[in-house]
């Protein structure tokens, strides 16, 4: 017993000694951001295709074309200052800005730009498809992308494409300009510096990468020579804090400055706190239901119509999705060129029942519904299960990890699925290419756009999408995308329901942070602390 008493006493003393451990607020020149960053698998701009990685490289590299924080929806020159289009519309010649330097101190030249684009094609990693759309291959890319002198380069496309489309693609992560000498100094076995660049940086952006520890931290350090002027925040630290509730607690305590993954519950709990402000930013993701046309009831037009009237769009947006999603029923998000914002559908069970009866399903049918097992998908799926049930459609939810659901979806083994889609670059073709284009519907098809995954055979719409990329008159082109969106909205295997919004909670002394519609348009360089 004495031993026990001694032990308890010692424990108590230790506890008292450490009570009120030294607490340090985040330093004034450092921004600590809590974020789920376990999706980062690489930081080489020729390979990055994940949300968090995309946000990091957007801070580190300048791109040929960019969106700036002053207007995150207006495309302007980045590394490029001006450009001219050849008469045949196939070649764009760019002049780059004078006086730009890489983090290494070397000047940014047109040779670096050409190298960066050629490198993407030669490495041929996931996001390379954004550039291969121009007809570029490993064999021709050196003639299609050329540095003319130190400050001039040209890009040539195989077909005569819409200039706005080409420029938009050149604002994607793959159009990041890398420091050729630095990268090649780390080349191993002809990998064009790929292994090294995965976890290092060689850019000219507002920040340089100091360290990336997978599932743990990313640290960025300000580039005093940034062409926009030295960022006020000297260091941005991303900490991987998976649990939103833990992010909220740390924000309240002032251990972090900003929380990026809070749900409506946490936002509500922070609303009374005068030290914390919540800002809502519209995002470009659209959330939809996919109906596999290989499945008998779903292939009937009346059933597809009925399902459109069985989703409680507004009810969900006003309740558990409040602040996270708004109702949007077209495949291209609102707020952008060629957006279509009509929302004709709402919950109308009687109308749906009549349509089901017309299709011969007055008693409804059984339907398997693949759902990703994380919020908000879980709540959305349950809500859909309940409203579908009112019209007799007996929905069985099949929960799964996102990669598991996508694996099944890509094999066309689903019946109904609920997922979201975010554009790869801010041109409507990015979404039209997947929702309204299906060049080969056979099981052996090489490319698997969303239309293919739902087995939707659409030769006419595919042609319209192909023509729209070539249309050089911007107004005519916009009209073509609106027509496609109307068609997909009226009758297709897609029931587009929502467009997302992001809620960022930060300490009120953090000012100037900008989060645009995509991860490419998140800006830390404009932020400061009061």
């Amino acid at each position: 017993m004495k031993a026990l008493a001694r032990l308890l006493a010692a424990t108590a003393v230790a506890a008292i000694a450490f009570t009120g451990a030294p607490r340090a607020d985040t330093p004034a020149d450092t921004l600590v951001v809590a974020k789920q960053i376990d999706d980062i698998i690489t930081l080489d701009p020729a390979e990055v295709f994940e949300f968090s990685g995309g946000e990091v490289i957007a801070q580190v590299y300048d791109r040929i074309m960019m969106y700036e924080p002053e207007d995150t929806e207006k495309l302007v020159g980045g590394v490029a200052e001006s450009w001219t289009v050849s008469d045949d519309g196939k070649t764009i010649t760019f002049k780059i800005r004078a006086g730009q330097t890489f983090h290494s101190g070397r000047p940014v030249t047109a040779h670096d730009v050409a190298f960066s684009l050629q490198r993407v094609i030669k490495l041929d990693l996931t996001p390379a498809f954004i550039l291969t759309q121009f007809g570029w291959t490993k064999d021709n890319v050196e003639t299609m992308v050329k540095a003319i002198d130190d400050s001039t380069f040209s890009v040539t496309t195989e077909n005569q494409l819409a200039t706005s489309f080409v420029l938009n693609c050149l604002s994607a992560g793959v159009a990041s300009v890398v420091d050729r000498e630095e990268v090649m100094a780390h080349e191993v076995n002809g990998d064009l510096g790929h292994e090294w660049l995965k976890s290092n940086s060689a850019g000219s952006g507002a920040y340089k990468l100091v360290v990336w520890k997978a599932n743990d931290t990313v640290v960025l350090e300000a580039n005093p020579n940034d062409r926009h002027g030295a960022p006020k925040i000297a260091r941005v630290i991303f900490r991987h804090i998976a649990e939103p509730a833990a992010q909220a607690l740390q924000l309240e305590k002032g251990d972090i400055d900003m929380a990026r993954n809070l749900g409506p519950d946490q936002i509500a709990s922070l609303s009374g706190n005068a030290d914390i402000g919540v800002t809502t930013y519209p995002k470009a993701d659209v959330y939809y239901l996919g109906l596999n046309q290989k499945v008998e009831p779903l292939s009937k037009p009346q059933v597809r119509q009925a399902i459109r009237w069985l989703v409680d769009y507004q009810g969900m947006a006003d309740s558990f999705l409040k602040g996270s999603y708004k109702v949007h029923q077209a495949f291209w998000p609102s707020g952008f060129y060629a957006a279509y914002t009509e929302t004709p559908f709402h919950l109308d069970v009687e109308k749906a029942k009549a349509l089901l009866a017309e299709a011969g399903y007055a008693d409804g049918f059984d339907l398997k519904f693949d759902c990703v097992n994380t919020w908000p998908q879980t709540d959305i799926c349950q809500n859909i299960q309940s409203t579908f049930g009112q019209a007799g459609i007996r929905v069985e939810i099949v929960p799964g990890d996102s990669k598991q659901v996508i694996t099944k979806y890509r094999a066309r083994n689903h019946e109904m699925v609920s997922l979201y889609w975010s554009p790869d670059y801010m041109d409507p073709h990015s979404n039209a290419d997947t929702f309204a284009r299906n060049p080969d519907n056979s099981d052996e098809a090489q490319s698997k756009p969303l239309a293919w995954r739902n087995s939707w055979e659409i030769p006419e719409l595919t042609k319209l999408a192909d023509d729209a990329v070539l249309e050089r008159d911007a107004d005519k082109r916009a009209a073509m995308y609106i027509e496609m969106q109307k068609k997909v909205q009226e009758d297709s295997p897609f029931v587009i329901m929502f467009q997302s919004t992001e809620q960022v909670a930060a300490r009120t002394n953090v000012k100037g942070f900008v989060s645009g519609p995509t991860f490419d348009t998140v800006f830390y360089r404009t932020a400061w602390k009061e």
């Binding site: 451990a21 990693l125 498809f129 976890s199 997978a214 649990e243």
Partner: protein
């Protein structure tokens, strides 16, 4: 494993071991280890291949061109039959090449070197707390069987056993971190210290102590104490329950009555004689609970943003990154086997019959 590895009953230990016998025993031991590993690898490999996740998808993402998809599939060797894939994997592992994690892009060994110390530190502190409080609590409960100390301890350990750790972690953070301000929040150390401490061992308490920066040490302690206490509570609950039942069994034995009749003090009877005799099974219990924590307490690591092995393996599994999962599994296997060996050595210390 414990049974197999022990291999030596009281009878065999009496004679002085000859060289031939020693080498035979070493051979059996090595053979058992190899078989255990092979089994471990096989089971993990099969799990990785039956989960309905396309591993290529985890690397190239959903939108890669078909050529890119096919090329990566070939690079991963996924076009080969399963048996070939398995044999190739075992052969590479045997040469110490665990391969590269597709998720982090690092050699799996480097990743483990980074993530394992975090888990080791947490699990060790939790087990120390669990033993320091669990064993006395179990003894106390046994001695006062049926009376209030017993009831209190049983209820406390029942709660420890049945409350979800995830919930307990969040409530702990809310109370001790957010409201009372007794401990620090999620993470291993405040960022002001993170980049000023040289991380030579990867164990934050050790590194801060070695650096002589006592503010940093106190900060690291303030970070680890809550997750360690919560995990410690779990191992306490288990250890206290087991200690209680071992002790009850011993206290009913005749030698205890004899000792009391001989006039020995109750303290000596309980703490020296009875407890001394439950040491061997108790060591097994402690070793098992320690090994369990070393696997990585995924949920605790999630709540406390603790970059440990459990989180690493789970995240890799969800991405079908089997090189990482298998590498992590091997480490966990080594821990289990190592702890079994350690318990065997400790048996000899506490039980003269096994010497």
């Amino acid at each position: 494993m414990a049974e197999v590895l022990r291999g030596t009953g009281p009878g065999t230990a009496r004679k002085a071991p000859s060289l031939a016998r020693l080498s035979r025993r070493a051979g059996v031991l090595l053979g058992t280890l190899a078989l255990t590993f092979l089994g471990l690898l096989f089971v993990t490999f099969v799990i990785g291949r039956v989960i309905p996740i396309d591993p290529v998808l985890a690397i190239v993402g959903d939108r890669a061109l078909p050529e890119v998809y096919e090329r990566v599939k070939l690079e991963l060797g996924l076009d080969k039959p399963l048996t070939t894939q398995f044999v190739r994997y075992v052969a590479e592992t045997a040469t110490g090449n665990f391969g590269k994690s597709v998720l982090t892009g690092n050699p799996v060994l480097d990743d483990i070197r980074q993530f394992f110390p975090a888990t080791l530190e947490l699990a060790t502190l939790a087990t120390l707390l669990g033993v320091a409080l669990g064993v006395p609590a179990g003894v106390l409960a046994a001695v006062h069987k049926g009376r209030w100390p017993d009831h209190v301890i049983r209820v406390v350990s029942l709660i420890g056993y049945s409350v979800p750790v995830f919930w307990l972690g969040l409530v702990g953070l809310l109370v001790f971190y957010a409201r009372l301000d007794w401990v620090a929040g999620p993470g291993r150390i405040d960022i002001v210290y993170e980049y000023s401490i040289e991380q030579s061992t990867g164990l934050m308490l050790v590194d801060t102590a070695l650096s002589g920066n006592w503010d940093a040490f106190r900060d690291a302690f303030a970070h680890i104490i809550l997750p360690a206490s919560i995990l410690g509570y779990y191992s306490l609950a288990y250890i206290a329950r087991m200690t209680r039942s071992f002790m009850l069994e011993q206290l009913a034995q005749e030698y205890v009555t004899t000792a009391r009749v001989k006039g020995l003090g109750e303290g000596r009877v309980v703490w020296r004689h009875a407890l001394g005799n439950v040491m061997v099974p108790l060591i097994t219990v402690v070793a098992l609970s320690y090994a369990y924590l070393l696997e990585g307490a995924v949920l605790t690591e999630t709540v406390f943003a603790w970059p440990g092995l459990g989180l690493y393996i789970t995240n890799s599994l969800f991405n079908a990154d089997m090189t990482a999962v298998l590498g992590g599994t091997v480490v966990v296997g080594v821990c289990f086997i190592g702890l079994n060996l350690l318990s065997d050595l400790l048996y000899a210390v506490f039980d003269p019959r096994t010497r």
